[in-house]
């Protein structure tokens, strides 16, 4: 009996831990798929503007922001009602964005305009535009709030923006066609993926000196198809996960030694990835197979594939 109660309690506890919800932007369907983390089932589909890509949560995690590039705005979805609210301005063709830890400013990459737009959310207006390289895409912010990073695809550069003065403080040449930039939890490192070089470069955030270049190999997959796209750095600083695009794999990297530990076979053309709040699961948006893979990071296996809309691109996990 006691065992049974314990088991029941345990089941309840693990269920509670999984009460997360995953939101996936479907680039070709103009929708956001909603996945229940507990059951790994698709539970809703929310229509949004045209060509949704970048996706993120508000500071209070009550609202979803979706960059809809073809409508030149950021859609806002109330997560309780799953209804659209008034959209936010974004500048032209927004792709990825990042919320500053102040909870107030959204830094948006404008793909067609070579700009990073700084949006004041409560005031609903663009307060500044920072000129960067051609086709800005990757956006990251240091958790200490001091700086914002951006990458430009055609210029192949990492741009570092002072979050206070909103000035460009440095430009660093990185691997060809950089896609994603993320700052480590301790704000000490900047990780940048290069799609065409198929590598991830790690920089010291203070000096911008390169610390490591991580290359990936998948037996039987030609070099050109091993491309690095989405990056997720674990909150405890132990692991990094890298989506390898048309290689259909996600690599798990030791974030201290920069060694590739293993790769997971997921869906086709895996683009962006997102960790669960407890860091135990990784969700992947697989653009060409129109599904989401769920990786159990503790047991090191892909446990589920969930069909979503067409061309899933970005995803975010809400607790």
């Amino acid at each position: 009996m006691q065992v049974l109660i314990l088991a029941a309690l345990f089941a309840f506890a693990s269920h509670a831990a999984l009460a997360e919800t995953v939101y996936v932007s479907n680039e070709q369907d103009n929708t956001v798929s909603v996945i229940d983390g507990a059951t790994s089932k698709l539970i809703d589909t929310i229509p949004v503007g045209r060509r949704p890509r970048g996706i993120g949560l508000s500071a209070d995690k009550q609202k979803l922001y979706v960059a809809v590039g073809d409508d030149n705005r950021i859609d806002v979805v109330d997560l309780k009602t799953r209804k659209m609210e008034d959209p936010l301005p974004s500048g032209e063709d927004p792709e990825l964005f990042v919320l500053h830890p102040d909870g107030r400013r959204l830094f948006v990459a404008n793909e067609n305009d070579n700009l990073v737009s700084v949006l004041d959310i409560p005031e609903r207006r663009i307060v500044t535009e920072v000129e960067v390289g051609v086709e800005p895409e990757g956006m990251g912010v240091s958790p200490d709030g001091r700086f914002v990073v951006n990458t430009s695809e055609t210029t192949s550069m990492l741009h570092v923006i002072d979050a206070e003065t909103l000035e460009l403080v440095d430009n660093v040449l990185v691997g060809t066609r950089p896609r994603v930039a993320q700052v480590s939890a301790d704000s000490k490192q900047i990780w940048v993926s290069s799609e065409l070089r198929g590598t991830v470069e790690v920089f010291d955030a203070e000096t911008r000196e390169p610390l490591a270049t991580i290359a990936f190999e998948v037996p039987g997959v030609p070099r050109e198809l091993i491309q690095a796209v989405g990056i997720q750095l674990a909150a405890d600083g132990a692991r990094a996960y890298v989506a390898l695009g048309p290689a259909n794999r996600v690599a798990e990297v030791d974030a201290k030694t920069y060694k590739v530990l293993r790769t997971y076979l997921v869906g086709q053309r895996v683009w962006h990835i997102a960790l669960s709040p407890d860091g135990k699961r990784l969700y992947t948006a697989n653009g060409n197979s129109s599904d989401v893979s769920v990786i159990d990071l503790q047991n090191r296996e892909v446990v589920k594939t969930i069909g979503v809309g067409r061309s899933p691109w970005g995803l975010v996990v809400a607790p």
Partner: protein, 390 residues
């Protein structure tokens, strides 16, 4: 007054000084007879290629701005009676070592063979001739434009993926058409297709523009296309003299592919994937039209030089050339994969688009065509087949 003069001369001196460190790239084009487009929807394009090179320089400048490297485009045209070798010598005298050519094969050969050209790097953005990559290859010549063999192989892979194995080949009268037909025959053999019928197009060009042009075509084309049953009609008509007349008029209801219908090209106005939307938008802003295949090859040539200069962190032509030919070079060409130069013949390996008139249909290499090195090398002349000896 004197102070003013000093100031003036200083002001004047600044650009002159900057020019010494600028990386200068010349684009040479040749005077050509104007071609009357077959379709009233097409316009004559006087800046084909040139606008691609201009965008290449603009794109280079965006990274150069941060790396403090400057790129300058020098635009030259060879007149009909002009001598390509003279042009090369004139450019060499100006100290230019990077040349992008929008030239046909004979002019390119004449330019690339001059003694002065040996210390230059020439990138061919126009001539698809396989001979330039084989018997007539040159150590100082690279090619961003795909060879005819690459285009034919790309089509063959797609047609085989569709199981359209039986081809009816219709060839135009120009020398280039004959060479392309030869490339189709080679591709058919290589990938297991069968050419079940062949015809030459012998009618005079241009008759659809007369008042009742469609009437003659409607009677001529069924006669021409009454051949053994086939899955697809493959056209070799590089100069666009007749290919557009065939769809919708053939004796049997069969799709048309090759230079018309379902076309193969390094680039197409319909390309929009892999960030191509942004490249098209930049090009449109600059040239007022969509980007074509020759524009793309010229853009890729100038961008390749820029990329090598930026990556090698050098403005020294020798260092840039070495990097371009080295194993680390890749160009982001908006086709989903890194593009680099084949060491055995200087050809840029790249995906080839299979494009319809309104939308992209597919991209070769097709899934399943494997290669021990790069799958891109399943298109065109592979290392073992190459007859190029530098």
């Amino acid at each position: 007054m004197r102070a003013l003069l000093v100031l003036l001369s200083l002001l004047l001196a600044v650009p002159a000084l900057a020019d010494d460190t600028a990386i200068r790239v010349a684009i040479i084009t040749q005077e050509r007879d104007p071609i009357l487009p077959v379709s009233p929807l097409d316009r004559e394009i006087p800046d084909e290629g040139l606008s691609g090179a201009r965008l290449g320089v603009a794109d280079n400048a965006t990274t150069g701005k941060f790396t403090k490297q400057r790129f300058v485009l020098v635009e030259r045209t060879i007149s009909k009676d002009g001598n390509p070798a003279d042009m090369v010598r004139a450019l060499a005298a100006e100290g230019i070592r990077f040349v992008v050519t929008d030239l046909d094969a004979p002019a390119l050969l004449a330019a690339g063979s001059d003694k002065k050209a040996h210390e230059m790097l020439i990138i061919n953005a126009r001539a698809p001739d396989d001979e330039l990559r084989n018997e007539s290859c040159r150590a100082n010549v690279l090619h961003t434009v795909p060879s005819r063999a690459m285009l034919a192989d790309a089509l063959a892979q797609y047609l085989m993926a569709k199981r359209w194995r039986r081809w009816f080949l219709v060839t135009g009268s120009r020398p280039g058409d004959k060479l392309l037909a030869e490339a189709y025959r080679r591709a058919a053999k290589r990938f297991g297709a069968q050419i079940v019928a062949e015809k030459d197009w012998t009618f005079k060009p241009g008759h659809a523009r007369t008042d009742t042009g469609h009437v003659t075509l409607q009677s001529e084309i069924p006669v021409l296309t009454q051949v053994a049953d086939h899955d697809v009609l493959v056209i070799a008509d590089e100069a666009n003299e007749f290919g557009d007349y065939l769809p919708g008029r053939t004796a049997l209801p069969r799709p048309v592919a090759g230079t018309h219908g379902l076309i193969t090209a390094a680039w197409s106005a319909v390309s929009e994937q892999w960030g191509a939307t942004q490249l098209q938008a930049r090009f449109d802003k600059l040239a007022g039209r969509r980007m074509g295949a020759v524009d793309y090859a010229a853009w890729a040539a100038v961008r390749a030089i820029g990329e090598a200069a930026i990556r090698s962190r050098s403005s020294d032509p020798s260092a840039i050339m070495a990097y371009l030919r080295g194993p680390d070079f890749i160009l982001s060409g908006f086709k989903g994969q890194g593009q680099s130069f084949r060491p055995w013949d200087g050809q840029m390996r790249q995906p080839i688009l299979i494009a319809g008139p309104r939308l992209l249909v597919s991209v070769s290499p097709q899934a399943g065509y494997l290669h021990r090195g790069s799958e891109l090398d399943t298109l065109g002349t592979d290392r073992e087949e190459s007859r190029c000896r530098f």
